[in-house]
Structure formats: C-alpha cells, structure tokens
C-alpha cells in the first residue's frame, strides 16, 4: 500500500479557459506533475495552479468551498460527466486514485443558458437562488420551539422529505441534462415542502411560482432522460420530478 501511495502521476489536462463572460473560450492543454493518488480532484487542480503560478501564468479559476461534499459549490464536467466518473459523489469527493499515470482529462464548466460562465470553470449559479426566492421557503412565523409531537409527520413522508432536502443545489442535474433542464433541483425543493405539514399553506403558490422562475431563467424542458438522477451527488430521485408535475398540475387546475 505504502509503495503505491508514494507513486505520483503525471497527467495531461485539457482545461476550458475563458477570461470573462463575454470573451471567447477554448480548451488549453496542460501537463500536471507529481499528483498523488490520495489527492482529491480539486487538490490536483491546486497543484496545477501552483505549477502555473510558478511559471508566471494565470491560475485556473474553479469553484469550491467545503471540499467535503456538503456545500454544493464545486462543479465541473470531467470527461463529459458532471462531478466526474463516480456516482453519488461531488467533484471534491473524487479521488485521483481513479486515474492512472499518463491519463488525459478534459475539464469543462457546467453549461446552460441559466449558468453563464464567469471565468474559466466558474459559472454563475445564482439562477437557483432566484428560483428559491420565488417560493422555496415557508413564511409562517414559527415562534418558540414547540413540542416535537404537536405536528404529526408520518415516518414515510418525513423520509421522503429528508431525501429531497439532501439536495445541495450544485447544478449537476442541469449540467448533465441533455436539455439543460433544472427540473430535478426544482422538484427536490418543491417536494421537501409539499411532503410536510408546514409546507401546505403555500403549496399551490410555491409550485406555480417556482415553475415560472425556472422557465424565466432559460432552463430547458424535461424529456425524462434521467441523466440528472444518474449525475446527482445526493442521489435525488426522478420520482420527485413526477411529484413536481403533480404539484404543478394540481395548482394549475385548482389553486385560487
């Protein structure tokens, strides 16, 4: 084991470089040396940036924050897959032991009209914030902490709501979708409230408003390709999309 870990790799990276939102971009080839299999993918990019900076070149801009799979900041299309080849993992959880010496890796930003490129691999995902502002909340005053059993929530519903609430809003669903649709994200957010008693008061208005905000950001239409579910680092299920469709239809035909 120890021997294997001491062995470092040299990789060829093809990285999307773009100076600014309006500048043209292109894939630029770099050699990165001395990559340990114990590094995360982001740490490998840190190594690349150190090597670039030491040569006096501009570092590659990429998003990251927690680096432990909980914040939703990291992104990247790695060899054409959102968050890389692993399932149920973010880019920061991808390890370089997945690769071997001499590999070539293509790294591109998440692409969608709703996710414009800011610089290099950084995209602006504030469209998701605006969709949340349209209805992804419960606006009842909750007062002081009340007794845990005063509102009964069936176990199955609580489980489903928790599963939906696991969404970290990274946007991999949009990036992976052939239609750049944001349905899995919106479905998760609508579901986590629709399943709980606290979400009922604004249920119809939420479904209509979040759908409207989603369309206004220029995301595509769902054609049930299910690439979103396959790419989701939190394994959000497409059954949530069916629920979103039900919530929308219900609200469209019955809301005041």
């Amino acid at each position: 084991m120890a021997d294997k870990n001491e062995q470092t790799m040299n990789l060829t990276l093809k990285v999307w470089r773009q100076k600014g939102p309006q500048e043209p971009g292109r894939l630029v080839e770099y050699k990165v040396t001395g990559v340990s299999p114990d590094m995360s993918f982001l740490e490998m990019l840190d190594v690349l940036n150190e090597q670039l900076v030491s040569r006096g070149e501009d570092a590659v801009a990429f998003d990251h924050d927690c680096r432990e799979g909980i914040c939703g900041m990291c992104s990247l299309m790695i060899d054409g897959r959102a968050h890389g080849p692993d399932s149920a993992a973010t880019t920061c959880q991808l390890h370089m032991r997945r690769y071997k010496d001499g590999d070539t890796v293509v790294i591109e930003p998440f692409r969608a009209k709703g996710f414009p490129v800011v610089k290099d691999l950084v995209v602006d995902r504030s469209a998701f914030d605006r969709i949340m502002m349209a209805g992804g909340f419960v606006s009842v005053g909750t007062g002081a902490a009340c007794d845990a059993n005063s509102i009964l929530v069936p176990k199955e519903k609580a489980d489903k709501a928790m599963d939906a609430a696991a969404c970290i809003g990274c946007g991999a669903c949009v990036a992976a979708c052939p239609n750049a649709a944001a349905m899995l994200f919106v479905a998760a957010k609508v579901s986590q409230y629709a399943l709980l008693p606290q979400g009922q008061a604004e249920r119809d208005r939420r479904a209509l408003a979040m759908r409207k905000a989603m369309d206004a950001e220029g995301f595509g239409h769902c054609t049930n390709e299910y690439e979103c579910e396959a790419a989701c680092p939190k394994e959000i299920k497409v059954s949530n999309i069916a629920r979103l469709n039900r919530e929308f239809l219900r609200a469209a035909v019955s809301a005041d």
């Binding site: 299309m77 054409g80 692409r111 992976a176 052939p178 239609n179 239409h221 054609t223 049930n224 979103l244």
Partner: protein
C-alpha cells in the same frame, strides 16, 4: 405583500391564465405532449386491430373498411386525430427548440452516466420520421382516389406493398415508431406525475412491450404481403 397582490390580479394577464399556462409553461407543455401521445398510442392499437383483418382476406378486410368509411362518427374521430397530432407535434417541436436554446454553448465532451436510452436520445428524429411516414401513408391510402379505395382497398394495399421500396420504407418508419414509443409511453406516465416504486418498473416493461407489439404488428403487413408475397 406586494407579491400577493400581483398574484391575485394574475388571471388578467395572459401569461398567468391557467389555460395559456398549460400550453406555454415547460411542465404544462410536456403534460399536453404526453396526453396527446397516450391518446395517439391508443389510436394505434385500435388501428392495428382493424388492419389485422388483412390476414383474413379481401372479403373481411374490405367489409371492415367500408363499415368504417360509412360510420357517421368517422369524421369526428378524424378531426380528433388531426387535433391530437397537431398538439403533439407543435408543442413537442417548440419544446425541442427551447431545449436547444437552453444550452447555447455545448460541451466538447459529453458522456452522461447511463440515464439515456436509444429511444430517449432519438425522440426528435423518430418523431420526424413518423411524420414523414404519416404524410406518405395518408397520401397513398386515405387520399387515394375514392373510386380505387371503394372498389377494392385490399387490392390497393397489396399492390402498394408489392413495391419493395415502399415496403422497406414502411418497415423502417415503423421501427422508428417503435423506438419512439419505447421511450414515449413510460415517459408520458412520468410526465403526468404517475411514478411509484412498485408500479413504475411494471409501466416501463409494459411500455416497451406495447412499443414492440405496435411496431411488429404493423410491420407484419408489408413483410407478409410485400416481401413474402402473401395473397397471391
């Protein structure tokens, strides 16, 4: 509270009219495409059942065809079909263009993680193929000269299928239709919000079986009467 007030006046603005919303919104459009698609699928089943009279010979088939042609409700059904096709094609095509615009700069490398199927990838291509087929099909049979149709429709069908090019095109287009349905039928259930851990796997299997049944069922006629020289 500003938001609530505008919301209350919303129905006066066309964009928030519920009917417009069902045709214009992303989800509404897909629900209409799915509904129309399922009705069209049902039509295909009925159409296939009727056409299989071809295998009972000229007498049975011509009798069925003339009974159908003289049914007073036929024009109603035909108008219904035209509407279903128009809704399905118009909204699906519009959605397709919006989806292309939703990713103005594409990926240099796009691999996916195994969500897509051959059917789901090719919906636009198979849809277009079915449309071309539909136009050719209507021209040859529905809009053939009335005298020819009424004299002996069975003979007309056999005569057309004797052309290998015509039959080959039929088989190809029906393969496309099968592919369209292999994704479309189960997809429509999901679009309509019908997804359940116990029933969805069954719906997927039945959707696929339906697609195979429809494709092979219709293909059997150009193959038997065309390539195998049936009804000599």
């Amino acid at each position: 509270m500003q938001a609530t007030e505008t919301e209350e006046k919303a129905c006066c603005r066309p964009a928030d009219c519920r009917l417009v919303m069902l045709l214009e919104s992303s989800i509404g459009k897909k629900i209409m495409v799915a509904l129309a698609g399922l009705f069209l699928s049902f039509f295909l089943l009925v159409h296939l059942a009727g056409n299989l009279f071809m295998f009972s010979g000229a007498g049975a088939f011509n009798h069925y065809a003339s009974a159908l042609a003289h049914n007073e409700l036929l024009p109603v059904a035909e108008i219904g079909l035209v509407v279903l096709f128009l809704v399905h094609i118009a909204l699906a095509t519009r959605a397709w263009f919006i989806n292309r615009a939703a990713r103005p700069v594409g990926y240099q490398v796009y691999a996916g993680k195994g969500g897509r199927t051959a059917g789901s990838r090719s919906m636009a291509v198979t849809g277009a193929l079915v449309l071309v087929f539909l136009l050719v099909h209507l021209k040859t049979f529905r809009f053939a000269p009335a005298a020819v149709r009424e004299a002996d429709l069975f003979a007309l069908v056999v005569r057309r299928f004797r052309s290998p090019w015509y039959s080959a095109f039929y088989v190809l287009a029906l393969g496309g239709l099968g592919l369209h349905l292999s994704h479309g039928v189960q997809s429509a259930f999901q679009t309509l919000g019908l997804n359940h851990p116990r029933y969805t796997p069954l719906i997927k299997k039945l959707g696929l079986a339906f697609a195979v049944l429809i494709a092979l069922g219709f293909m059997s006629m150009p193959i038997y009467f065309g390539f195998l020289g049936g009804a000599k």
